[in-house]
């Protein structure tokens, strides 16, 4: 009798403790999943940035920092399109992408073609691309002005909630659109003639021209395609965050993502972008935002020392 009466509270206590432990684990798991989702949606945008960035790198072998400027212009023109025509989400994205593409081609005409004509060393392309990015920023500041704008909430602010985890419909939609765009890009590069031309030039610019590929036109085409991606990414950034002239500076994240993920294939920047987003989120969540840049860079460096071609990369060329 005594043993039984002692047993029940004992089991009860143990049971309650186990239950609490499970609940803690469940809570921790939920927090973990929430942070994972945060990281994935953040990483999706980085991936998109890195892909557009990587396209130029593969073809011309330099880090194109004007991609940030392309994102900026795409974002602003999409915003104005929206203000004037009240377009839907998809039309706004399309408008942003196309203007991004045009902007990239203009940049090519202004800053890349003269250098190519003079056989400039690669480093000057890089220098000019930084200036190109700055040029778009200052253009916006001088013309549109410095005030912040936002896109309205296209799909409402409804969140999808599973338990304690929530993510917004908008983020989900953008993730899906990014995936569709990436698949579209893959189809374009591998199944169409002009896509093959781009890959040929990426492989070896001189041999491709010997084989009859019009290298100049292909390069302009590459810039246009990369600009499409950049403009799209810019609109995403504008929707997710705010529209402001310094938006282009976010390209540094894209650059880091492509270093981590590796270039030379389409998969590399995507993997790098998602990894970077998830890494950043987890570092901020579990270690605090102050240490995040420090650790990020240490990890970046370790990647370079241990696996210089990045995770999924093929090319081991110089990135700066």
């Amino acid at each position: 009798m005594c043993r039984e009466s002692c047993l029940y509270p004992f089991i009860l206590r143990r049971g309650v403790k186990a239950g609490l432990l499970l609940r803690n684990v469940k809570k921790e798991l939920e927090v973990f999943l929430q942070q994972l989702l945060n990281g994935l949606s953040c990483g999706g945008v980085y991936a998109l940035m890195a892909v557009g960035f990587g396209l130029i790198y593969n073809v011309l072998k330099f880090s194109n920092f004007s991609h940030g400027g392309v994102m900026l212009i795409g974002c602003y023109t999409a915003y104005f399109a929206f203000k004037i025509f009240h377009s839907s989400l998809f039309l706004t994205l399309l408008f942003g992408a196309i203007s991004g593409g045009l902007c990239a081609v203009i940049f090519e005409k202004l800053a890349i073609i003269p250098l190519r004509k003079r056989n400039a060393p690669k480093i000057y392309f890089f220098v000019n691309s930084i200036n190109g990015g700055l040029l778009s920023e200052y253009l916006i500041v001088a013309t549109v002005g410095v005030f912040f704008h936002t896109f309205p909430d296209f799909l409402g602010t409804t969140n999808i909630n599973i338990g304690q985890i929530s993510f917004s419909k908008l983020n989900l939609t953008m993730l899906i659109i990014s995936l569709i765009t990436l698949f579209g890009l893959m189809w374009y590069l591998y199944k169409t003639k002009s896509g093959r031309a781009i890959r040929a030039v990426a492989c070896d610019i001189n041999t491709a021209s010997l084989m009859g590929v019009d290298v100049n036109r292909v390069i302009s085409l590459t810039f246009f395609v990369s600009g499409l991606l950049g403009g799209l990414c810019g609109v995403f950034l504008g929707i997710n965050y705010t529209i402001y002239p310094q938006l282009g500076k976010l390209i540094v994240k894209g650059w880091m993502a492509s270093v981590i993920g590796g270039l030379g294939s389409l998969l590399g920047p995507v993997v790098g972008g998602i990894l970077l987003g998830v890494l950043e989120t987890f570092l901020t969540a579990y270690i605090g935002s102050s240490f995040t840049p420090i650790l990020e860079f240490i990890i970046l460096l370790m990647f370079l020392l241990i696996r210089p071609q990045g995770i999924a990369g093929v090319i081991v060329e110089e990135k700066a």
């Binding site: 410095v146 969140n159 965050y241 310094q246 901020t284 935002s289 102050s290």
Partner: protein
């Protein structure tokens, strides 16, 4: 090709030489020159442009009434890009080449602090809104030629903290601030110190850095800490994003802000901005402000930010001081500024001669409700 190069180089040289001669060699007979140093193109340009608009509005009003001492005011504005070296160059240019009688300064302390010793040497007064105490005082006393026309950052933080503790009866706070920004850090630290000193608790203090746009990691941690309120003292863009992301994650408790929660925050954050309390430089429901807003909107076509109000008041304070001094001597004007007792759009401004800042100047607590600003009233923490 060579000829083309020569032509381009020649054109560049001619173009640049325009710049060498484009300043005013001192004022004309009928003019008073006032300098204006602002960030017009970098990250805080939205402040600088508004500040300049407020100054221009005030100058135009004064000129329309006949000017000061029979002369018209002309404002010369230089862009600093938020960079201290540009600000130093701009100040020197205004004082040495343009020969202004006074300078109206920026609302950022990273420019204000380096200007202080230079103003002391060149003896041309600077009236501005650099909230860091080091821009107006140093360990040996006051910077004689620098004047701050609003409460300093610790005063503002304490007003917000005291209001939250005493009026809203909140005691458990989470804080999220920009560790890479002086403005944000200098408000977060005094806020936390005040709360702890007066019996409150800081459950969690999260940080972010300049250029960050993703705060969901920090917001998730804040959500898990279950605070009664969240203190968010950042720049308006970051504040809006944090508000959206906090609400998006499900944190509905009141947000306590700083004076960067006014326009255009509601535009940027939408319904996420609701349930926010913050100290503001001016009350929005008094006739003085409503008239100013009408004039400003008519002239510039948009709503004034707080910096527009501050610029407007600063220009008026300067004008009064020039009138009081009776002559265009910067040192006499500086002495007159010290005697200021002015009621402007941002309240009553009267300097403490030992600090060149207004003592115990109240701020107006505002609440954002239904996507509108509601004035709650002036507030000062009780003396303790």
């Amino acid at each position: 090709m060579n000829k083309l190069k020569v032509i381009i180089i020649l054109m560049t040289v001619i173009f640049l030489s325009f710049g060498l001669f484009s300043y005013s060699w001192g004022a004309g007979e009928e003019e008073i020159l006032v300098g204006n140093i602002q960030d017009m193109s970098a990250g805080t340009a939205i402040w600088g442009q508004n500040d300049t608009n407020g100054i221009l509005l005030a100058a135009e009003e004064i000129n329309a009434l006949g000017g000061i001492l029979g002369k018209k005011i002309r404002v010369i504005t230089y862009d600093t890009k938020g960079d201290p070296t540009e600000a130093i160059n701009a100040y020197n240019r205004l004082v040495d080449l343009d020969k202004v009688v006074a300078v109206l300064g920026p609302p950022t302390s990273n420019v204000g602090i380096p200007l202080a010793p230079i103003a002391e040497r060149k003896k041309v007064p600077v009236i501005g809104d650099f909230m860091d105490e080091r821009a107006t005082t140093h360990s040996g006393g006051v910077w004689n030629f620098m004047f701050l026309t609003e409460p300093s950052c610790s005063e503002q933080a304490e007003i917000a903290a005291s209001y939250a503790l005493k009026e809203l009866k909140l005691s458990k706070f989470a804080v999220i601030y920009n560790k890479a920004n002086s403005y944000s850090v200098k408000m977060a630290i005094p806020f936390m110190a005040y709360v702890i000193k007066h019996g409150g608790e800081i459950l969690i203090a999260e940080t972010y850095l300049f250029g960050d746009t993703e705060f969901r990691a920090q917001c998730t941690k804040i959500k898990n800490a279950s605070p009664e309120a969240v203190f968010v003292p950042g720049y308006v863009k970051d504040n809006a994003l944090i508000a959206k992301q906090l609400r998006g994650i499900g944190v509905d408790v009141p947000i306590i802000g700083n004076n960067s929660w006014y326009v255009p925050l509601i535009e940027l954050a939408g319904p996420a901005a609701n349930n926010t309390y913050f100290p503001n430089n001016m009350a929005t429901d008094i006739p003085r402000f409503q008239e100013f807003m009408k004039l400003y909107e008519k002239r510039f076509g948009m709503e004034p930010l707080i910096h527009a109000c501050m610029g407007y008041d600063n220009m008026n304070i300067l004008a009064e001081a020039i009138k009081k001094a009776g002559k265009l001597d910067p040192i006499a004007i500086k002495d007159a500024i010290e005697q200021t007792d002015h009621v402007g759009v941002t309240g009553r401004i009267k300097f403490n001669p030992q600090t060149h800042r207004p003592d115990r100047m109240p701020l107006v607590m505002l609440k954002i409700e239904n996507e509108e600003f509601v004035t709650l009233g002036e507030y000062l923490p009780p003396l303790d």
